[in-house]
Symmetry: C2
Subunit: 350 residues, 2 copies
DNA sequence: TTGAAAGCGGTACCAA
DNA sequence: TTGGTACCGCTTTCAA
């Protein structure tokens, strides 16, 4: 750390006042004369004094920091969510620190532990599918740590969340596929119990039902984010080569959609004429495929900003631990992209 | 913060030992008997004891945290850089916290101040163009804070950096354009003195010279990241409508390339047949355009990991503040993308 | 093997 | 308007 060890005491000694006086002067306390304030501030600047936040937060029991935990950040969806969070946080004068866990729930647990031990004032989390760390989060929450789930909600516990209405989104995109004469729609995702993907599947099933199509288990391709890309591709490939017929894919996320698209193209399928491709998130990575696709644009910036605002209200009434939790849905929309034609057509609000 | 106020003292009292003993036991110190260690640990777990890192770090004067400051995170380039950083950090058991400033140097300054006041052990920074905060960084560095510049280097001060060889990259991509019969190449970027873009322009000029083409100032379109997208587009539009002739664009970054492409398409130009488009970073956002383009793929993951490794070596010999700084270049490559054809052709190593 | 005491850098209360 | 003192939660001598 800094060799430059200028502390409040250093300053105090130099001008023969007490540390208490320096502390107050530096924070513009009313009960210090302008004269000494000036003297102290000048000296502080001259010596390059920096407050030690660790010390400050230790006594004040407030850090003014909120911690954000996300699974990935190389994806435009999360990146934009974070932008929304930062945007809102700046208005409220909070510092935001971001931790990334690469979809690994063990790293996520460490992230949660670290950040709470660091005494952040609140946590925003886009959690790794599978609810591996719910116990920890629940414990923290019960002990008064404000926590808001972002994007990927969590049903098991009574918690605040800001997400897309995933059931409706799944329903809407599936209905669009059905209307466009697709009937053998594969749904790909980390369809673990109680995750976002699960909700999307619910919507998918609902739409099928409405169109009188029976849900076919074999068209539900379960994958897991934590396995690596090559393995994922292999899994997709083997599905494609199985005898199961299909005419379209709806993917629970951008990265999956990209991989599915990649495999389809490698295997000689045409998109969208041979197979229609759909995804959630309007993620930039899907555009790498260079093919038309249907997407649920979730307004990530708005999700992020809304989540922060909700967190702030929670942080403000710390006492009220048992207040009713809010589940907020941010509006999204169904869009059809045809990059090569530079067409981006709005289809429907969700 | 947590209502659950279990501290070392709480535990100490409950089993009638001193706080010192608890502290040692919890950290597996050799001079505590296994018996009491066990007792203490069990009780700690039962009570849900969490160490307060603010307190811990305050006395140890080490945080084991490294701070990463980036301008943007919704862009795949930075996202992947961060992934590389995290990957390397995990191996060394460091915690990584990320701060984002949206290309705003005032926010960047706050980020730097905050993070250093928080007593991080080292800083990785991808700095906002313009060298606005060099004074601060230099001061910190002189006071013993290890700092490594990532991606966007900084020539003014004697500092460690891990970047692309930008002169060479600028040279290579320009040469490719020239070989493909482009001669009126517009270079767009935040060509402020002493930034990455500037190096890229140097390479650009060098290539022009080699091909016997005189550098034309008017083909250098200076833009500034900090102005908003609509203004940027307006600036690009007005250039396009000026009488200046052009046959291609090389853009210093992905976001700019995307905006340039957008305007060109809106104005009815064909890419790449009418106008060839080039950029640095192989950023996913460019694919949104759905057109072929040339890119310098900078291997962001490798840049991130390398930067972290360099930082670690700096953190290990804190004394040696005046050691020679290292400028490391990470290999990149020139690639031609034709998304609609699913072609991604390697052209040349850089 | 254990613990008392001092202190990390600040803040806050109360007395002067 | 100033300053003494206690303390935030934890670690670290050094003595018992």
């Amino acid at each position: 750390m800094t060799l430059n060890k200028v502390t409040i005491k250093t300053i105090a000694k130099k001008i023969n006042v007490s540390p208490a006086t320096v502390s107050k002067a530096l924070r513009d306390s009313h009960d210090i004369s302008d004269q000494t304030k000036l003297k102290i501030k000048n000296l502080a600047k001259k010596l390059g004094y920096k407050p030690n936040l660790m010390a400050r937060n230790l006594v004040s029991k407030k850090s003014n920091i909120i911690g954000v935990i996300v699974p990935d950040i190389s994806t435009s969806f999360f990146g934009l969510t974070v932008r929304g969070i930062n945007y809102a946080a700046r208005k409220h004068n909070y510092e935001v620190i971001i931790l990334v866990n690469d979809e690994d729930h063990k790293v996520e647990r460490k992230n949660i532990e670290f950040i709470s031990n660091l005494q952040v004032d609140g946590i925003l989390i886009d959690s790794v599918p599978g609810n591996h760390n719910l116990d920890l989060l629940e414990e923290l929450s019960e002990n008064g740590m404000p926590i808001v789930f972002v994007d990927r909600k969590c049903k098991k516990i009574n918690a605040d969340s800001v997400t897309t209405d995933d059931i409706k989104a799944g329903y809407t995109i599936t209905k669009y596929f059905l209307k466009n004469n697709k009937s053998k729609i594969v749904f790909v995702g980390d369809v673990d119990l109680l995750t976002v993907a699960n909700d999307r599947v619910k919507g998918y099933k609902k739409a099928l039902k409405e169109f009188g199509i029976k849900f076919d288990k074999e068209l539900l391709l379960k994958i897991n984010y934590e396995i690596d890309e090559e393995q994922l591709k292999e899994k997709i490939r083997s599905f494609i080569h199985s005898k199961k017929e299909f005419d379209s894919f709806i993917c629970a996320g951008g990265v999956i959609a990209y991989l599915v698209g990649l495999v389809l193209l490698e295997e000689g399928f045409a998109i969208p004429d041979g197979v229609l491709l759909g995804e959630f998130g309007d993620n930039n990575i899907v555009y790498r495929l260079g093919v038309p696709f249907i997407t649920v644009d979730q307004s990530p910036i708005s999700i992020g900003a809304t989540a922060f605002d909700l967190l702030v209200t929670r942080m403000k009434d710390v006492r009220n631990t048992n207040a009713k939790r809010k589940q907020i849905y941010v509006k999204s929309k169904l869009v059809s992209h045809h990059p090569a034609k530079h067409e981006h057509l709005f289809i429907e609000h969700i």
